[in-house]
């Protein structure tokens, strides 16, 4: 957004460039999704990697308990397999690198805690953590997130995925008002 770069003025060479046109970005994302369908035979996915990291970390800390658990044990650790040896792990690595590439080209890479100007960073991080825990739980329950369920399942017209998307935005709109201050400048 242009408004965010008005103050303080940076030298022109370091000034972040504005984001791309959203419809062009949408077409690019759609092309990536279509390529994923045609090459991999499955859509995009993102939540798989942090979830599998959870399985991997828990299996390092309490191996026996994790191995015997119904979800991690049966789904990700069966026969002693490495939970991170999975195509979506590589996809996530690509997402990280692709995002970095676009960020570098747009001169937008910067270590920050993103929040409204008057909102304390620590409280913003607490909200991000709580939100993360809820999303990790929910993605494991629904077998996917906005990428793997909403976007991918939406493109496949899967009933459950479309219902998932409606639930996400319904609950999001119901919650947003209560945490609006974190974005106020």
């Amino acid at each position: 957004m242009r408004d965010s770069v008005e103050t303080p003025r940076l030298p022109a060479a370091q000034e972040p460039r504005p984001y791309g046109n959203p419809y062009v970005a949408g077409l690019l994302l759609g092309a990536a999704l279509l390529a994923s369908f045609l090459v991999l035979g499955a859509g995009l996915g993102a939540s798989s990697t942090p979830i599998r990291c959870g399985a991997w970390i828990e299996s390092l800390v309490v191996p026996g308990r994790t191995q015997q658990s119904t979800y991690f044990g049966d789904k990700y650790l069966a026969d002693g397999s490495n939970p991170l040896r999975y195509y979506l792990t590589y996809m996530s690595l690509g997402v990280l690198l692709g995002g970095l590439l676009s960020g570098v080209l747009g001169r937008r890479v910067k270590v920050t805690v993103e929040r409204g100007a008057k909102y304390p960073a620590a409280r913003r991080l607490v909200l991000a953590l709580i939100g993360g825990v809820l999303i990790g739980y929910a993605s494991a329950l629904a077998s996917g997130c906005t990428s793997g369920q909403a976007l991918t399942g939406g493109a496949l017209l899967a009933n459950g995925s479309i219902v998932f998307m409606l639930s996400v935005f319904g609950a999001g709109y119901a919650t947003a008002y209560f945490v609006r201050k974190q974005w106020h400048d």
Binding site: P22, A42, P50, V95, T175
Partner: protein
């Protein structure tokens, strides 16, 4: 035709470096698009919830519609077969609705979702890093509380386009998208003075192009129809020989001559038919988890090569969980000239339902002959497999059958009393069925253990309260009319599935099971491993007292047939047929140790201490092992057997092993046991080893 990694079995089942490289490159484009759109900013992402910045809606809808139309177009042109080449997401409404609601709250709080969080991390956003740590913690939390959501995870369904034609729904969704784009621009203009694309050429152009493609997809015949046209066109010019072959194929399909029913296959496997080649076409991990004995695992892409190299000329049976894939594979093989290929009717599910589901769990009555066949199949197929590291495969197959039975009979009353059920229930099966309205757990441990924590909803039963002095004999199982009162107080209904939690002594649970058997209760099982295994696996435990509504358990029409008294045994002493098993420790059997009126044992009895049925941890040994050991003592499954110990308690365990696990048909329980026999001075007793 496009072949995807998924279609070739190289996505998840047997991934190659090429799979991972392709995923990485697609990820690059994915991440680039997300960042280019501005999704490396949580503030921008959250904008959608305040109508301040509707970029999320624009990007997601554009992407979704683009991919949907592209895929639909390729499918309509016959370039890709959606059914076999694309992983189509299943629908599980409960999990997806509740998951979506929780996700939405998390999204509004954090301003991130997993994909954008990874991009945010790449851009140096610390809130994205913390968010991703949270996601990982949330996944661990889900794993640790897996049982909470059991009720939401119903059977996955393949549901698409809400009952409309795919192309119709695609057209509608495209139009909704175009309207939404314009509404979003307008909303943004009102809320924040944005909406700069409202009258742009780009938005107009995009809207027109998407609408045109959607109409083309709508007008084109859909995938399967297109294939039909091609077949019809080719068929008119096909050779008479090909026509005849195809005619033959269709006739076989129509008459189901291409099927082999589960009982037929089960009998052939038990006979060990040499001409039979059974092929499991499921993914390797499912094959590893369980498969029919002797089956080889060959996935569809490798099937032709495998059959060509094997040169098998006998019958070939293909099976999967269901029937679709084997049926398609069979058609392909028949076209290649194979005339000896069969499908397993209803697949592995059919096999579990028809052959391995215990007679007592079926919603229809079986004749004695049929029940006998079921017992034979169960003992053959359950014992055949190599025991798996966690629990035995007997248990696994039995619990599969139980799960299938739950599906099949749901709330149907099981009215026939049949002494055959999945008597050993796995902790996993139980945790998945905790929410079942007809499940009742009876905790057979001590009162102190119970109050410190028990399985969710479990009711406590002191096993001593079901025994008492009857006709002067101390400590025998109470008559049925007193037992039904106890069951009523425990809130048990006649059709309930009763699971007994044995704690550390399996024999306490087997004694309680004698109560269930005396009143003719059909559906019951003992949780394998008991409470220690359950809590050791981190499964949910509670200390609250459950709410129990008193029931009115009906009195059984007649007494049980398995309990015998001293007179019954006295009449059979030395008949040369009956095997009398004394299950006490050896020193009691020989008479070196005694706390009764007389030392020793009943003449002709064979000593087999009940503890030998247990492993070091006090759990029942695998059925296959027990079967081998008892084969040494008892000539056949039909041999009459009588078990006894000191008070009937230990012998109840042996009764369970012989009658419920191993399928011995004529097993009787001398409840009074040695304490009764020894007190009757007119009955003979011997000491020593023989």
């Amino acid at each position: 035709m496009i072949n995807t990694f998924y279609g070739l079995g190289k996505l998840v089942t047997a991934p190659t470096p090429a799979t991972f490289l392709a995923a990485l490159l697609i990820g690059l484009a994915f991440g680039f698009a997300l960042e280019y759109a501005g999704f490396s900013s949580s503030k921008k992402l959250a904008g959608i919830f305040y109508f301040r910045d509707m970029t999320v809606l624009r990007v997601m809808f554009t992407a979704m519609i683009t991919a949907m139309l592209g895929l639909s177009l390729l499918a309509a042109l016959g370039w890709i077969d959606l059914g076999s080449q694309i992983y189509l997401l299943p629908t599980v409404y409960g999990a997806q609705i509740v998951g979506g609601l929780i996700f939405g709250v998390g999204f509004a709080l954090s301003g991130w979702c997993p994909g954008t969080g990874i991009v945010g991390l790449a851009l140096g956003k610390l809130d994205a890093l913390v968010f991703l740590v949270g996601v990982t913690m949330g996944a661990v939390l889900f794993n640790e509380t897996y049982g909470w959501t059991a009720g939401l995870r119903t059977e996955p369904q393949e549901l698409f386009a809400f009952g409309l034609q795919r192309s119709t729904f695609a057209l509608l969704l495209t139009l909704v998208g175009i309207v939404a784009f314009h509404l979003a621009e307008w909303a943004e203009r009102i809320a924040a003075g944005g909406g700069r694309y409202l009258h742009s050429t780009l938005l107009r152009g995009l809207s027109v192009v998407l609408a045109i493609v959607a109409v083309i997809v709508f007008v084109l015949p859909s995938g399967p129809q297109a294939t039909e046209f091609a077949t019809a066109a080719e068929a008119s010019s096909a050779s008479p020989a090909l026509m005849r072959d195809q005619q033959l194929l269709l006739q076989e399909v129509a008459s189901a001559a291409d099927h082999m029913d589960p009982p037929e296959l089960a009998d052939a496997l038990m006979r060990g038919d040499k001409d039979l080649l059974v092929i499991d076409v499921r993914p390797a991990d499912e094959y590893e988890a369980n498969h029919l004995p002797g089956a080889v695992n060959v996935q569809l892409p490798g099937l032709i090569d495998y059959l060509a190299s094997s040169g098998h000329t006998g019958r070939i049976v293909l099976y999967s969980n269901g029937m679709t894939h084997p049926a398609q594979a069979r058609d392909a093989l028949v076209r290649l000239g194979y005339r000896n290929v069969y499908l397993l009717t209803d697949g592995l599910r059919g096999f579990l339902d028809q052959c391995l589901m215990p007679a007592s769990l079926r919603s229809y009555p079986l004749s004695d002959g049929e029940a006998q066949r079921v017992r034979q199949w169960r003992s053959f197929f359950a014992a055949e497999e190599v025991p798996a590291p966690v629990g035995s495969s007997t248990e696994k197959l039995a619990s599969d059958a139980a799960a299938a039975a739950e599906q099949a009979s749901s709330d149907q009353a099981v009215t026939i009393a049949e002494n055959d059920a999945p008597r050993l229930v796995s902790t996993r099966w139980l945790s998945e069925h905790l929410q079942d309205p007809d499940l009742r757990i009876i905790d057979c441990r001590t009162h102190a253990d119970y109050t410190q924590g028990h399985l969710p909803g479990a009711v406590y039963l002191n096993f001593e309260s079901i025994r008492g002095s009857v006709n002067g004999i101390p400590s025998v199982l109470l008559p049925g009319d007193l037992l039904v009162q106890q069951l009523s107080l425990l809130g048990v209904r006649p059709d309930d599935m009763v699971v007994l939690d044995p704690g550390e002594n399996v024999r306490d649970a087997t004694l309680v099971s004698m109560m269930l058997q005396r009143v003719g209760h059909a559906r019951w099982g003992i949780m394998h491993g008991g409470f220690p295994k359950w809590s050791g696996e981190g499964r949910r435990v509670e200390a609250t007292i459950p709410t129990v509504a008193r029931t009115d358990y009906p009195l059984p029409p007649r007494g049980d047939v398995f309990t015998v008294d001293a007179q019954h045994i006295a009449q059979r002493l030395g008949d040369g047929k009956t095997v009398l098993l004394d299950t006490r420790p050896t020193e009691n059997f020989t008479g070196e140790e005694s706390s009764e009126m007389r030392p020793g044992h009943i003449p002709g009895a064979v000593n087999r201490a009940f503890k030998r049925d247990l492993d070091a941890a006090g759990n029942l040994k695998p059925a296959a092992e027990l079967a081998a050991e008892y084969q040494q003592l008892i000539p056949s499954l039909e041999t009459p057997v009588i078990v006894y110990c000191r008070t009937g308690h230990q012998a109840s365990l042996t009764y369970f092993v012989l009658h419920e696990m191993l399928g011995y048909q004529d097993v009787r329980w001398y409840d009074g046991s040695w304490s009764d026999w020894a007190a009757r001075s007119d009955l003979p007793a011997v000491t020593g080893d023989q």
